[in-house]
């Protein structure tokens, strides 16, 4: 063995380490791949060795190779081996490799669960840390489910280093296992107020990330974040919070009002640009959210815009970029304030930095008005000419279209200008956005009726010059515009000047080189054109011309019939037959124009893109129901492939037909040329057919139109858009003059009457009357379409699963899965991994006495409200309205103050309602938990009985209901921790004592029940303090003063009051004497009454239920500094299960582990003493062995326990 070690370390000496590997790779630049494959072979050898150091070294090298792009998934198992090494050095290497290479598809990942759990509970914080870091990268749904509970426990780890990592990784766990969000959320929320800034920051980070996706669920946290924002000095945290508020304000405008002041202060005070920028961003978000309801935040807007201007003017390009980015957000709601900085933004258009130019382009969108649209677009067009690189130019193109088409072309006054801009844009080489231009052309032509004539003339020119647009192969994107051109010319053919000319242009042979879908449109629209020509000719009684057109069609359509594109082929052959039929009829001199035109009668209206989706499903129609029963599987399997195969064969045969050999083609071409030469309608001067086969002889002599590309391309015959700018100016000038004239007249009239305040004749946006109007403003939607926003939601969004209501109380089913322990294992083995985790959070309130519950609840809720103004409405309304932003108008201030008292009035009423059917809750846990449980019951009143019957013992170990719960036995009679304190004819007092770990105090809950017919008021509790035990009194009161009970008791009502006591020594039971004084008032008058009592603090009441892991428990016992004692009680008939439950309940223990008739239990005193018990069940007897850090405490507790057990 020893030698093996020596051998291992000698081997080890000559292994390459990471540095050697890197050096080697650098020295083998020329044959790197070969060298690396050699290294991988070596690594494979190393991985086969037993020495873990060798393996770790190999895995480390693999991690490097992974970075270079080599797949290392084959070593996944070895990585796990290294992860499970005991040394931190190796473990760290293993986890690093795993975090780089493991993913959900790694099958061995499921082997890691136990290893990771072990590392998570490792005593070394760095083992835990490294495991958490690794897990954050490769957590899978399975791992998340199995480890969620362990990680949640780590969130309360003593080391902040672990806490912050555990908090952060919870986000990943939530993503993979959304069910864990609700159980874990309360603790996550607690961490927002963690004393360690790192943990706090991590919690903020996680919640911000969650809230970003589903902000509405986190609105209730706003007050907490507000507090953090005003108190935190960590810029990183501040930025996150401020960003979060930016996401929350759209949901709650009142929040925005509250935020403006602190944010403005931050903007003024901070020196950190990053923080300033985020503040400005959030103020903008606030302003956007307010813009609907609240007018006049101009001061804040001005502040933002002014700060942004500083950013934009900064020499730092980053600030400039961000400034523009934020500016574009203001633009959406307050375009006016941005427009004043037009100069600056236009200047940014000339920036050398493309990112900045793009941002400035975004802003232009909002800068345009009727007045300056032409000017801005002109500027952009010059940029288009200058732009290098297609991306930026394409961006420019889309922006021009966006700017012009925004809100139904509201800024366009002259559509002729716009059409010519669109036509000019077709000159762009290699743009991807041909379809955009095409869509615009179509949209404008359809929706602006007045422009159709002009559009058609432009489009026909475009068709005529199609060769310019579609000639070069790299300009393919732009040929899309021909699609629009053909359609417009066809659809609105009545506006064509020379329809026949256009028809010929559309039937040119080179059209067949266009993409199929464009050809299809050509074919279809050729017929429309044809129909209108026919009609024209027939009306003119020019039968010969009509027949000539038909002949042209018959001659040219076959070229489309041969198309390889199915759509084209189908349409062409269909139409060809139609035209041939028409030809026959024409030969008989039958007028056909009417009938052919009837094919295209009616007008097309634009339909909204989502119209189809929005048609409501008629009642009684089930879209999921089968119309015909589906065929059985066997049938379809047998038949389908056959049919498909058959069809395919046919189609192939059909297709092969046109693809004839070269000779045949040449022959046909010759024939066609012959035909063309003989055809009187063939225009020989038209541009030559596109070269289809480069090598075909005889193409050379076809005249090719040479395009001189050095001069900017101009489509001949098309007016330039610049002309329109001039024309438009003239037009406006004329309009102005006319208007002035009219105004003058009016003014003259007015002068005669009353003198009215009249403005100078400035040209405002509204004054410019557009030359053409958009006729069809709204797109058609089906009747009673459902208004919905659902269209935007992506059902596959992983964050949707986290859209969980967090304010809803936890249900029983929502507990995190906890590993169950196996019976066979040694009870005290510290190595055991299947630790029963007693989940603190899911602990349920103890059994209560029903009659008292209502009052207690009511009171608690009030108390809670007082303590934390946690309710969001309350927080938003009772605080004073935001400090006056310079011009807050009085109206808003009024509504604010009005709202506040109203809300306050509402609060108590709501509480009273809430209190009606609630269980009481005596737990002195942090109040939010209480609230949770209460609400739960509030919402499930039906479950009340069930949950009340549930035994605390069973709930303490949620994962093992069968073992620990009362299910296997009969139910235990209801237990109460309340015992009688004192009673007389007026009042009955029962009390319970509860310790709390946090402040080593005990809380006494006293239930006061009014038995008389009088109203009891002015109740006061005075207790004689002992040296050891004192009652906590309100500040400033003396030792002899009583503590008032904060409520009155009407007849027959009971309520609970709580009093806090501080105890010095808890090892002995204590008794305190006290008196309750009160006034009993009935119809006859008031009497002063007193009731004496003795408060008994048992030792058990100083114990608090604390969960404990079995390994920690084992360590505790082994540590040896605990003293031991034991008791034995005979004659016990109760089942072991119920016995344990009783101990748990009355003495505040929790079950650590239970094996058959033996159980270990743990509890902790309010002063931190550990109390461990081993309870063994014999024949009719129970023995309890206890170990405790204080012998007296232990013996007292055991005595008390003996008394309890004796009653069993």
């Amino acid at each position: 063995m020893a030698l093996k070690m020596v051998k291992g370390s000698i081997d080890r000496m000559f292994d390459k380490n990471l540095q050697d590997l890197v050096r080697g790779i650098r020295n083998h630049k020329e044959d790197e791949a070969k060298y690396i494959s050699q290294c991988i072979d070596e690594i494979k050898q190393e991985l086969k060795q037993d020495n873990i150091a060798v393996k770790a070294n190999a895995v480390c090298k693999l991690t490097y190779l992974q970075m270079l792009g080599y797949d290392i998934s084959w070593a996944a198992f070895n990585i796990i081996e290294v992860m499970s090494a005991s040394k931190f050095t190796f473990k760290r290497i293993g986890y690093l490799a795993a975090s780089q290479s493991f993913h959900e598809g790694t099958d061995v990942i499921m082997l890691t669960t136990n290893q990771i759990r072990k590392d998570l509970s490792s005593p070394s914080q760095y083992d835990t840390g490294v495991a958490l870091t690794g897990l954050s990268c490769f957590v899978t749904p399975d791992l998340a489910r199995d480890l969620a509970n362990d990680i949640m426990t780590l969130m309360s780890h003593t080391k902040p280093y672990i806490r912050k990592k555990a908090v952060l990784i919870m986000y990943k766990v939530f993503l993979k296992y959304p069910e864990s969000l609700r159980p874990a959320f309360p603790r996550l929320k607690e961490k927002l107020e963690d004393p360690d800034p790192g943990v706090q920051s991590a919690a903020v980070n996680v919640i911000c990330e969650l809230a970003r996706r589903n902000p509405k669920n986190y609105l209730s946290l706003a007050p907490l974040f507000f507090k953090l924002m005003t108190s935190s000095t960590n810029n990183w945290v501040l930025i996150k919070i401020i960003k979060l508020f930016g996401a929350l304000t759209p949901l709650e405008p009142r929040l925005g009002k509250k935020l403006i002041e602190p944010l403005t202060n931050l903007i003024h005070s901070t020196s950190a640009m990053s923080l300033l920028y985020e503040c400005v961003n959030t103020v903008i978000a606030v302003l956007i959210s307010l813009s609907s309801g609240m007018p006049n935040h101009s001061a804040s807007i001005q502040l933002c815009v002014q700060k942004l201007r500083i950013l934009i003017e900064d020499s730092d390009q980053n600030l400039k970029y961000l400034g523009l980015l934020a500016m574009s957000k203001i633009l959406k709601t307050h375009p006016k304030s941005v427009q004043s900085h037009k100069d600056l933004i236009l200047q940014c258009l000339d920036d050398k930095d493309e990112s900045i130019r793009l941002r400035a382009l975004d802003l232009l969108y909002g800068m345009v008005s009727k007045k300056n649209l032409m000017e801005i677009v002109k500027k952009l067009m010059t940029h288009v000419d200058k732009a290098e690189g297609t991306t930026y130019r394409d961006e420019l193109l889309t922006k021009i279209i966006d700017i012009c088409s925004q809100s139904n072309y509201q800024h366009i006054t002259n559509f002729e200008w716009y059409i010519s801009i669109l036509v000019e844009l077709t000159r762009l080489e290699g743009t991807r956005h041909g379809h955009l231009i095409a869509a615009q052309m179509l949209d404008v032509a359809i929706r602006v009726k007045a422009i159709r004539k002009f559009a058609v003339s432009q489009m026909s020119t475009l068709l005529d010059n199609a060769h310019l647009v579609a000639s070069s192969t790299q300009r393919n994107g732009i040929c899309e515009v021909l699609y629009a051109a053909a359609w417009i010319c066809g659809e609105f053919s009545e506006h064509l000047q020379e329809p026949q000319h256009t028809l010929e242009a559309m039937l040119r042979p080179k059209v067949t080189t266009l993409p199929g879908h464009i050809q299809a449109v050509y074919v279809q629209n050729v017929v429309k054109l044809y129909a209108s020509i026919l009609q024209q000719k027939e009306q003119a009684a020019d039968m010969e011309e009509a027949q000539a057109v038909t002949q042209l069609m018959v001659d040219r359509l076959p070229q489309f019939v041969q198309s390889a594109d199915l759509e084209v082929q189908e349409r062409a052959s269909c139409i060809l037959q139609l035209v041939k039929h028409v030809q026959k009829l024409q030969a008989k001199a039958v007028p056909v124009a009417e009938e052919v035109s009837a094919l295209f009668a009616g007008e097309l209206n634009p339909v909204a893109p989502k119209a189809q989706k929005k048609v409501p499903v008629p009642e009684g129609l089930d879209l999921d129901a089968w119309i015909n029963e589906p065929l059985s599987d066997s049938e379809s399997e047998d038949e389908k492939p056959k049919a498909m195969f058959h069809e395919e064969e046919q189609r192939q045969a059909k297709h092969r037909l046109p693809e004839v050999d070269e000779e045949e083609l040449a022959r046909r071409r010759e024939a066609r040329k012959q035909e063309q030469a003989n055809n009187p309608f063939y225009i020989k001067s038209s541009p030559s057919p596109q070269k289809r086969y480069q090598d075909t002889p005889g193409v050379e002599h076809i005249p090719v139109v040479q395009i001189d590309l050095s001069v900017p391309l101009k489509v001949p015959g098309l007016p330039l858009s610049d002309q329109y700018v001039r024309l438009e100016e003239e037009r406006r000038h004329r309009q102005r003059l006319e208007k002035d004239k009219r105004r003058k007249k009016r003014r003259d009239k007015e002068k005669k009457g009353k003198r009215r305040h009249s403005s100078l004749p400035t040209e405002s946006d509204e004054d410019i009357a557009p030359a053409q109007q958009v006729d069809i403003v709204t797109e058609e939607m089906p009747e009673n379409a459902l208004p919905s926003d659902e269209d935007d939601k992506d059902p596959n969004d992983p964050y949707r699963a986290l859209d969980i209501d967090l304010d809803k109380p936890l249900a029983d089913s929502e507990k995190l899965p906890v590993q169950k322990h196996r019976n066979a294992e040694n009870a005290k083995s510290p190595e055991k991994e299947d630790v029963p985790v007693v989940e603190k959070k899911s602990k349920k309130p103890k059994k209560k006495e029903k009659k008292h519950k209502e009052k207690e609840r009511e009171k608690e809720k009030k108390k809670e409200k007082e303590r934390k103004g946690e309710d969001l409405d309350f927080w938003l309304s009772t605080t004073p309205p935001p400090a006056p932003v310079p011009s807050t108008d009085t109206l808003s201030a009024n509504t604010n103050t009005d709202a506040a008292p109203k809300d306050e009035l509402e609060e108590p009423r709501r509480e009273a309602q809430d209190g009606e059917d609630q269980d009481q809750d005596q737990e002195k846990k942090p109040s939010k938990h209480k609230k949770k449980h209460k609400k739960e019951r509030e919402e499930r009143p039906k479950d009340k009985k069930r949950s009340r019957k549930k035994l605390p013992g069973s709930e303490e170990a949620p994962g093992e209901p069968v073992q620990n719960g009362a299910l296997e036995e009969g139910p235990l009679p209801p237990m109460s921790s309340y015992s009688l304190l004192a009673e007389n004819s007026y009042i009955k007092m029962t009390y319970g004592v509860q310790g709390s770990l946090q402040d080593s105090q005990v809380t006494v809950s006293i239930i006061l029940e009014n038995r008389s017919s009088s109203v009891l008021k002015s109740m006061e509790l005075s207790v004689l303090d002992s040296l050891n035990t004192r009652m906590a009194r309100p500040e400033g009161s003396s030792v002899h003063d009583g503590v008032p009970v904060p409520f009155q008791l009407p007849p027959g009502v009971s309520n609970e009051a709580q009093f806090v006591f501080t105890v010095q020594s808890i090892v002995m039971a204590q008794k305190l004497k006290g008196t309750l004084s009160f006034i009993a008032k009935d119809d006859e008058g008031a009497t002063h009454e007193k009731l004496d009592f003795k408060l008994h603090f048992s030792c058990s009441s100083y114990l608090t239920t604390t969960p404990c892991y079995s390994d920690a428990f084992a360590k505790l016992l082994e540590s040896g500094d605990l003293s031991m004692s034991s008791i034995r009680v005979d004659g016990i008939s109760m089942s072991f299960q119920n016995l344990l439950t009783k101990i748990c309940f009355h003495h505040h223990f929790s079950v650590v582990e239970r094996v058959d008739s033996c159980a270990s239990m743990y509890s902790r005193s309010v002063q931190g003493h550990h109390v461990c018990l081993l309870v063994k069940r014999g024949e009719n007897s129970v023995s309890v062995d206890g170990k405790c850090s204080d012998a007296t405490l232990l013996s007292n507790v055991l005595e008390e326990m003996k008394a309890t057990l004796a009653t069993c």
Binding site: D71, T89, C137, S274
Partner: protein, 204 residues
């Protein structure tokens, strides 16, 4: 969320690749290459933000990068991160990556012509460990420099107390190997040694 942290040199050679979302190796390499081409064509005096678009994640994601000497540091982040904050973070990481390894490795070869980049190359694992203390699972874990240094140092002490990965003899050998690397090229043949080792075992 941070989607990826990429460090590569002026030639596009990856020096640190950390994805917080799984991509197969070849896709990772492709992303590194494309990112490299995106940032390469940008001048040094233009802004450090780049809308990556199709690369990772989509339109919500941005590339935030810094060019430092021969290295590009690129963060791919979504809109929940503060742009300027991330730029600061890169600055901090730079300090860590380039200075910290020297602190951790006692014998730093000073003959390298370009210390900065080579530190990164030879101590990729260390650099990852540093990064892990700053960013975890795509979220910023700690921004307090002192805290980060303290944790890294504590872990290194722990590693040292365990004897480290390369125990003393191995380090010595590796040092010997390094001294005259050009003169004795690859003459340490593992095959030969493998023969010797069985001999050793026969002694027992």
């Amino acid at each position: 969320m941070i989607q990826a942290i990429l460090v590569f040199n002026n030639h596009g050679k990856p020096r640190l690749v950390r994805f917080y979302q799984h991509f197969p190796e070849e896709i990772q390499q492709q992303i590194v290459r494309e990112t490299f081409h995106l940032v390469l064509k940008r001048d040094d005096n233009i802004c450090n933000f780049l809308e990556g678009g199709s690369l990772i994640g989509g339109s919500d994601y941005k590339l935030i990068y810094r060019h430092y000497a021969t290295l590009y540091f690129v963060f791919c982040v979504d809109s929940s991160e503060s742009e300027l904050g991330i730029l600061d973070l890169i600055q901090h990481l730079l300090i860590f990556f380039l200075i910290a390894p020297k602190v951790f490795v006692e014998t730093l070869d000073k003959c390298f012509e370009n210390v900065c980049e080579l530190d990164l190359i030879f101590h990729m694992d260390k650099v990852h460990y540093i990064l892990q203390e700053v960013v975890m699972g795509g979220m910023v874990l700690e921004t307090n420099m002192n805290e980060i240094v303290a944790q890294i140092e504590a872990q290194n002490r722990l590693e040292k107390s365990e004897g480290g990965l390369s125990a003393a003899p191995a380090r010595a050998v590796s040092a010997v190997k390094n001294i005259n690397l050009p003169e004795i090229p690859r003459n340490i043949n593992i095959g030969d040694l493998n023969i010797k080792v069985p001999n050793l075992s026969q002694f027992v």
